[in-house]
Every structure is written in C-alpha cells, then in structure tokens.
C-alpha cells in the first residue's frame, strides 16, 4: 500500500473536477454500450478524489452514483468484478446509504447484501478504518 502524501490542495480542485468530468463522459459512453460493469469499474478506479473539498467529493459521488444505479443484475456484476474493487465499493455503498434517498438506499442494500456474502465482515471493517480514500 502506497503512503499517501497528504491531501491535494484546494487550488487543485479545478483539475480534479476536469478529471471527474472526463470520467463521467467515459461512463456515459460505456452505459450506452450496455456495459454497466465496465462503467462501474471506471467509476471505482482512481475515484477517491484525495481531497477534502466538498465540491469535488459530491461531483465524484454523482458519477459513481450514476454507475451504481445502472447495475441491474447484481450477481452478474460480481461475476466480473475483481475482489480488489470490493473495499472501495463497500465504502461507496455506505455513502449511498447515508443519502437517505429511497431508490439509492434500496439499490445499495441490494448490492451490500451480496457484497457482504462475498467479501465478509472484514471488508466492512476495512472501509470503516480507511482514512485514505475520501468518498
């Protein structure tokens, strides 16, 4: 695990937003091609914006949320999602649950159940203890 040298400064926020916009376009095109799992992978990859800037965080969450909600077949998703994504996915699921929005919560709980079955309680503990990835 690489040591993260502090968080990105606030004046880098614009650069982060640009990156997130780029990612958003990529996800949209993947979703149009009916590749929801690829879209989710893209959303999870390099997704933690490494910043405490709320604007960046919510921009990023909107993108991940879009990819999360596009998942229809949860079992099928897990069949092609590698275990290294599990911890960060769990972290986003808790972010989703914290919104209190009904359809989001339903979707997150549905994935949460399957993810816990696969990755165990250890995965939840890692996402609770994680101080590096800000989502």
């Amino acid at each position: 695990m690489a040591r993260v040298e502090g968080f990105v400064e606030a004046d880098n926020a614009e650069a982060i937003i640009t990156r997130i916009e780029h990612k958003s376009r990529k996800i949209e095109s993947l979703l149009k091609q009916y590749k929801p799992v690829e879209a989710l992978k893209t959303a999870l990859e390099g997704s933690p914006p490494m910043t405490r800037d709320e604007r960046c965080k919510s921009a990023n969450w909107i993108v991940v949320h879009r990819a999360l909600m596009a998942i229809k077949d949860v079992e099928g998703m897990f069949a092609s999602l590698d275990p290294e994504y599990y911890d960060i996915l769990m972290k986003y699921l808790y972010r989703g649950l914290s919104t209190g929005d009904r359809p989001t919560c339903e979707q997150c709980l549905r994935i949460h159940e399957k993810l816990t079955e696969r990755a165990g309680l250890g995965c939840i503990l890692r996402c609770l203890a994680d101080t590096v990835n800000t989502v």
Binding site: M1, L121, G122, R126, A129, T131
Partner: protein, 586 residues
Amino acid sequence: MASTSVCPRCEQSPETPLHLLQDCYHSWLIWDSTNSLPEDFFQLDLDPWNKLIFEVQRIPPLTITQQASKLALETEIAFEAKATLALKTPRWVSWTLPPQDFLKLNTDGSHDDNLGNAAARGLLRDQCGHWHHGFPMNVGITTSFLAKLWGCREGLKLTISLGVQQLILEIDSLLAIQLIQSQKSKVFQLQIPPDFFSSQFRNLGISRIMAAIAVQHLAQSITCHAWSPDHSMIAFCPNNNEVHISKLMQEKWEKVHVLQKHDQIVSGIDWSAKSNQIVTVSHDRNSYVWNQEGTEWVPTLVILRLNRAALCVQWSPKENKFAVGSGAKTVCICYYEQENNWWVSKLIRKKHDSSVTSVAWHPNNIFLATTSTDGKCRVFSTFIKGVDTRESNSGTPDSKFGEQIIQLDLSFSWAFGVKWSPSGNTLAYVGHNSMIYFVDDVGPSPLAQNVVLRNLPLRDVLFVSEKMVIGVGFDCNPMVFAAGETGIWSFIRCLGERKIASSPSKQGSQFSEAFGKLYGQSKHGLSNDTVEPSGGQGVIHENCINCIMPLKEGEGTRVMRFSTSGLDGKVAIWDLENQEDLSNYL
C-alpha cells in the same frame, strides 16, 4: 422359561433337541468345520445320529469341542475389542468452511445390519457454506466401508462433471483416505484415470481431525497466559490484579499459586524457559519479576518509570532482558544489575505516537519489534553495554540503544500482535482493519505483503514455522496463513469450528444477530446450517482470542502445539500433528 418355542439363536425353527444339536445354523457351522462327515449326516434322526457320533467314532469328539470353544473365544475377543474401542478418547470432527474458491464435498455411506442394503449420500458446499449440489445413491448389498467408498466415487464423478477445480473432500474413514491417497483402489479405477488426483484437482486436501486437543475453562475471562518451561503449569490473569498458577493433576487443573502484588489488571505475563522466572506487567504501571524459592514465588519490583499502564511484556531470547510496551508511548528495556541487586529499566522514548500494543524480540537478542495504535510497526536496537556484547551484535554495525532500524507504515489503523519468524527473516503483524502484514528482509529494503481477511480482525499472531503463521482474534477462530513456494503469503483456512450465528446467549454472536435483523432472520442462515448437529461442542472459543503462546518441544524451531486464551475464559491447546493439508508448510 422362554416365551416361544423358537430357537433363540437362529429364530427360524422350533427349538427341539435335534435342532439344537444338529440343524441350527450355528451348530451346523461347528459340524461343518470337520471335513469327514458322512453324506447323510444332516438328514439322520436323533437316535441314529447319536450312534453315529458316539459309537462309529468317525468324528473325534475332541475336535468338535475344541472347535466350539474356539468359536466361543473368538466371540468373546470380538466383544472385548468392541469394549476397548468405545473407551478410546473421542475426537471432535466438525465441518468448517472451505477456503476461498474451494468447494467442499462431504460423503458418507452406511448399511442395514451386516451385509444389508447399503446407501451413500454426498453434499457439495461452497465457501459460504451454501448448498451447491447433492446426491443420494443406492449401493446394493455391501459393507459400510464399501458404501463410503462408493459415495466418494459418486461425489468425485459429480464434481468432475461440474468442472470443479479446487475441492476438499471430507470423509470419516481414515482407511478410505489412505486407500484414496495410495491411488491403488480398484473402486476408483472405473471412470477416473490413475493420475486423477494429481492432475484433475490442483489442490485436494483431505481434512478430518479437529486441531484442538484440549479446552479448559479456567476463569470468567483471561487477559493473558504463559506456560512453565516444562508445560506442566500455566500462569494466567483472570481479568483482575492477580496471577493464578495452575497445574495439571490427574486430568484436572488445580490452582497451586496465586501471585498477588499488582494493584490493577495484569496485562502481560511471560515465563522464561531457561531461568524459570515469571515477569508480570500491569495497568498499575509496575512490573514484578517472580522467582521460585522453595514452594513460594518471591516478587522483585521493577520500577518501569512509566506514567501510563504497561500493556505487554516479553523476555528476550537470552533471558537477560525483557521488554515492556506501554500506554505512555514508551518501550522499557529492563535488565538486571548484579552489583545493585536491582532491575533497571531503560526507556525508548519519543519514537511512538501512541500506545505500544505488542513487543517481539528478534532471535539475535538485540532487535525489538513493536506495534502501536498509531498503526506503525517499528524495529529498534536495544543494545545495552555490559549486558550485550558486540560479538552477538554481528551484522548490525554500531546500532546504539534506542536507535530505530525501520518504521513500517503499512497500516492506517491500530496495529497489534507482532512476531518474528524463527530465523528472524520475516516479521508479521496485524492491523485492526482486518489485514495481516508480512515483511521479509527487514532492513533498508523490506519486502512487504498484506493479506486481506474475510472475517473480523486479528489480535495476535504466532509463527509455527518459517512458512506458516497462526492468527487469532475477534473471529474466535485461529486462522492459518502460509507462504507458498513463491513466498506469497495467503490465507489457508480456519483451524476450528465456525461459531453458530443465532444463539443469543453467546456474546460473540451479537454482531451476527444484528446482521440477521438487517436482512431478515431467515436469510442469514449463512453459518447456521453448516454446523453439524453436535456443532455446539465444536466451538472452541466463544469470544475474542487475545493471546496465543507456543508450546515448544525441545530445541527445534517448529511449533507443533500452541495454546490460545481469550475473553471467554478458556484456554485451548491446539495440535497441528494430524492436519495433513498443513504439513507441507511445517
């Protein structure tokens, strides 16, 4: 008086004198064993038959009586053997979850009476314990043993047809396992190629015997424990300011000493193997070294110069020093000064940002590894002039006391339970985020690996060999980790039984209960239905395990037996001797 006239032995015809002596199957067996019977022997009536036997003298009566008594003796031996069989100590055999990406096949066979109708069944379950496939089969008329083998064969055929790559087969017959492993069995030649076991399954482990060999409930809760040099006595702290020493006497643990000197909870105990000294540390910020004088244990106070609780202690390999970790962000290295008759404590200060949770000595008696709640694992030099000599310090040039050799920043949450491998090449420690870390080549360019756990975090670890580590913790079940030929560490399996999910009386299950509520109780049968009916017996620890100690025999570096203690007040002794699948790593 018999209630019926039917022969009680064969239950087939009336019990007449003729039947008893001649026609009954059991009598016939005895007569038939003599080879020189006339053809009409069994058709004769009683009188001519008697004449034939006693007057014609074609059959020596002595042979018949000898034959009869031989049969009787055989029966008696058979019954006696049965009686001694029952006296054998029972072994716990229980179902555990297979490791990740494995399926587990359990098969068994049985039959009606002797040579009755036999049947076999099998069950294939996945890593979560969920039902994968199952089958029943009719075997026809055979013995239990053959029925078990038929069950195995059918189960293996099923798994091949399913394309299973990694399988663990569990059967309850040692003979059958040996037969399969020898690959000479005819049963398996029908459909399965001879090299099947090496080629088809990359990993075929046959496990059957539970590793725990003794469990003892010693207190309400145990904070730590240690063994006397000959393992006949155990010192433990029953979660208060005392240390109890118990001795095994006539299969029962009897309390022989109570060491009372500390004012608060004793957090660490270590018993030196060579000098037979016990060192204890406590939340009262003090330490005592106990020496046995006659039948009494005499304490010597060691002033640690701490302003917070002492948390852990360990004797150095040469037993001339001991190290204490504390809540004061400090490590104390204590040594004995002969001229002053006094234990001196030297401090390593200002290196830790938080409490020191665990200390471990390198085999060279100089290096000390520590873990801390700041998430870091550090290695220090503890060279003390007059105690250590430079010769013993070879390969570690000029490291002064308290010098930090390395700091490992692998974990971002609390770190616990650090240990060195027997050679000192590898370091293992655990993080509170359900991770375990392995560091090879500790020095300027360390090689770090981490292994992600499926279950709750660990508290302590133990190297049983260079390539194998046992981890214990909040999951109440010792976990085995091993390094393969490429040096990559991975989780192998749990040693004990999985704890039962829904039993409100048990403390360890509160979490699972909450989970059951989240998803509706019925769905969370995850581990409930995987436990065998006698499963309650198989659960070793019912709460967090916080201490693991080796039970070393002789001078070797291998540890075949070890003990665990935890918040449930139990001490369990585990034996790796019969764990066939783990023997490669030992």
